[in-house]
C-alpha cells in the first residue's frame, strides 16, 4: 500500500510539473513573440533606438527563460532560437532591416512550432 500511495504522489507531482511547464511555455512564447512583433514594427517604422532597445530586451528575456525551458523542450529548437535571437542586436546596429525582419519571422515561426508541438491537444497526442 505504501508503494501505491508513493505511485499516486509521484504521478500527481509529475502531472503538476507538466501542467506548470505547459503554462510556463505559453507565457514564454507569448512574451517573446510580443517583443519580437514590436521589434518588427519598430523596424518597419525605421525607429532605430526602439528597435535596438527591443533587441536587447528580447535577448535578455530569452537568456533568462531558456535556462528553464531547456529542461523540457527539444534542445535543437532551443539552440536555433538562441542563435537567431543573439544575432538580432547586430542586425539592428548594422541597419540590415530586411534581414532583421526575416530573422524575426523565423523566431516567431520557431516559437509557434515549439508551442504547437508541446500543446496538449488531441492532434499532438495522436
Amino acid at each position: 500500500m505504501k508503494r501505491f500511495i508513493a505511485a499516486i504522489v509521484i504521478l500527481s507531482v509529475l502531472l503538476t510539473a507538466t501542467i506548470i511547464g505547459i503554462v510556463y511555455l505559453k507565457h514564454v512564447v507569448d512574451d517573446i513573440s510580443g517583443i519580437v512583433v514590436k521589434l518588427m514594427e519598430a523596424a518597419a517604422d525605421n525607429d532605430y533606438d526602439k528597435a535596438r532597445n527591443l533587441a536587447e530586451i528580447v535577448s535578455i528575456e530569452w537568456k533568462q527563460r531558456e535556462k528553464i525551458l531547456i529542461f523540457a523542450t527539444q534542445n535543437k529548437e532551443m539552440d536555433e532560437l538562441t542563435f537567431t535571437i543573439s544575432g538580432l542586436e547586430s542586425l539592428v546596429s548594422e541597419d540590415y532591416w530586411p534581414d532583421l525582419r526575416s530573422q524575426c519571422e523565423k523566431i516567431l515561426t520557431i516559437l509557434e512550432h515549439i508551442w504547437e508541438s508541446e500543446r496538449p491537444s488531441f492532434h499532438n497526442i495522436l
Binding site: 508503494r3 501505491f4 529542461f71 527539444q74
Partner: protein
C-alpha cells in the same frame, strides 16, 4: 560523450529504483503488463541515453509514469478480480485427467510441440500421466501428476521426519554473514565452537552453509 556518461549514470539509477519500486514481482516470471513495462522502459532509457538533443526529462517522466501506472494497476488487480482478469487474463487448463483440451490449446495458440516441451521440462513424457496441466497467465505450464504417477512421500509410508529448514549461507568467501546466523537460528557461540571443532578460521572458508537443525557443510578455500 561526457553528457552520455552522466545520462547513463542517472538513468541506470532510475531504472534500478524503478525495478525496486515495482517490487519482487517484477524480478520473477513476468506478467503481460510487467513484460510490456520492462520493454518500454529499456527502450525509453536507451533512446534518452543515445539522443543528447532530447532533454533528460523526456526520458525520466515517461519512465516514472510507466512505473507508477504499473504499481497502481497491480494494486487494482489485487483488489479487484475483474481488473486482474483484464490485465493478466485467466489460467487455462489444457490437460484434464490425461485428456488434451484441443480447443483451449487452439485458443492459446499453443502448438502440441510447445506443450510437450513444457511437459518434458517437468520430466513427463506421456500426456496420460497428467491429471491437470494449467497454462498460467505468464505462459508457464504447471502440471499436477495423476496420483499413481506421483513419487512416494514419507507421509505415504508413515515415516517420522525431523523438521529442518533450508541450508543458509553462514560464510561467503571468508566473510561471516550475520543475517545467515539469524535465519538459521544458530548462535555466534555455536558458530565459533563449530569452527574450533573443525580447526578452521573464517578466512580459510570459501563457503559454509547450515540449516536450523545444525547440519552444516564447509567448503574450504583452495
Amino acid at each position: 560523450m561526457f553528457l552520455v556518461f552522466f545520462r547513463v549514470i542517472i538513468l541506470y539509477g532510475l531504472t534500478i529504483f524503478c525495478l525496486r519500486f515495482m517490487g519482487k514481482r517484477q524480478l520473477g516470471e513476468l506478467q503481460p503488463t510487467e513484460f510490456v513495462i520492462t520493454i518500454m522502459i529499456s527502450n525509453i532509457a536507451t533512446m534518452t541515453i543515445e539522443n543528447t538533443s532530447v532533454p533528460l526529462a523526456s526520458g525520466l517522466v515517461p519512465i516514472l509514469v510507466l512505473i507508477c501506472l504499473e504499481v497502481i494497476i497491480s494494486v487494482a488487480a489485487i483488489k479487484n478480480r475483474k481488473v486482474r482478469k483484464l490485465v493478466s487474463g485467466n489460467p487455462l487448463i489444457v490437460i484434464r485427467n490425461g485428456v488434451l483440451d484441443q480447443n483451449t490449446l487452439q485458443e492459446l495458440r499453443f502448438s502440441i510441440d510447445d506443450l510437450m516441451e513444457a511437459l518434458r521440462g517437468q520430466n513427463i513424457f506421456d500426456i496420460r500421466d497428467v491429471e491437470f496441466a494449467v497454462v498460467e497467465t505468464n505462459g508457464i505450464v504447471n502440471i499436477f501428476k495423476k496420483a499413481e504417477k506421483q513419487g512416494v512421500t514419507p507421509e505415504m509410508l508413515q515415516l517420522q521426519t525431523m523438521p529442518c529448514g533450508p541450508q543458509v549461507v553462514l560464510v561467503s568467501d571468508g566473510e561471516l554473514i550475520e543475517d545467515g546466523l539469524d535465519t538459521s537460528g544458530m548462535t555466534r557461540d555455536w558458530f565459533d565452537r563449530t569452527l574450533a571443532k573443525e580447526q578452521r578460521s573464517v578466512r580459510d572458508i570459501f563457503i559454509m552453509t547450515c540449516n536450523n537443525a545444525g547440519d552444516y557443510h564447509i567448503i574450504p578455500k583452495q
